[in-house]
Symmetry: C2
């Protein structure tokens, strides 16, 4: 991950700030005997059908596209990872965060295409999302983790139930 190191770890916040809406080359991957240049972006012009396709690859229940569009419009940050296939963007990673733009953020819909998992992309995605939220001085970054990804988030520095604080859910099905 040559580019990752160049673009992020060794650069100043000012550089990052200036470019945080840009498309950044983060790594090169060997995929099916081709070298793919993989990019990361905070741009919010996500193609809804591409996003649905990506979510399908990990088996998520389909959601009405109009509702997804509203959710994205009202997310504080959207992050995506993609490569170009004959000049067409192929979306392979995504996450978003809701926030009060001040104290708290909650991360939702973290997804990496199965063919591109276990290559460090999820870690890059999350670290950049955290860095961006920190840049906005959000001090409490939260998420709700399924059992199989708790370890992944723990490695990124997330704490489970700190001081006994519990994540709780209210679903309409109950009432």
């Amino acid at each position: 991950m040559v580019f990752w190191s160049f673009f992020f770890n060794n650069t100043k916040n000012e550089y990052y700030k200036k470019n945080n809406k840009e498309t950044l080359l983060i790594t090169e991957l060997n995929h099916n005997n081709k070298i793919l240049k993989v990019y990361l972006s905070f741009e919010n012009n996500i193609n809804m059908l591409e996003l649905e396709k990506l979510c399908d690859t990990v088996g998520w229940v389909r959601r009405p596209i109009t509702k997804v569009k509203i959710a994205l419009e009202n997310s504080f940050l959207i992050i995506s990872i993609f490569y170009y296939n004959n000049h067409k963007k192929e979306l392979i990673g995504f996450a978003r965060a809701t926030s009060d733009n001040s104290f708290n953020a909650t991360i939702w819909d973290v997804v990496i295409h199965p063919e591109f998992q276990k290559k460090g992309l999820g870690k890059i995605l999350m670290n950049q999302l955290i860095k961006e939220l920190r840049y906005h001085e959000i001090s409490t970054i939260t998420l709700f983790a399924d059992p199989q990804v708790i370890k992944f988030y723990t490695h990124l520095g997330f704490l489970m139930d700190p001081d006994g604080v519990k994540g709780m859910f209210w679903y309409p099905i109950q009432n």
Copy 2:
């Protein structure tokens, strides 16, 4: 709680919709040998100093008012409970929710003035907040509960760690 029953439980959604930005009489309480009329509102014109004073009563760490103002401006819903003392609003309950306006909401800063706790106001506050979020078709309502209030939220229908989903936190202090 005569008025509570009149205004909420037996009314139609349409009535609620029309009035959800209004001030609603929810109950009458005997407080220091005076009968107080207690009101609930979803209006977002919260007095920052009043809110700070309320948070002080429950011992919360003070937060910069400018940041609190931004947080309120970027909250999806704000709910408050108050009474009038010589025509001056006395804030005795508060909560807010961030949301993507579509699927998820997260409830923050739930507070009831200690002198008005154990009178059912917290339950009214939360039930109205849930009702309003449901009215906006938000299906996943979440919060992070301190250990001492887990039982309170459980009684309201909140589930802790459903299907092993864990609330996780990232704090800047770690890195």
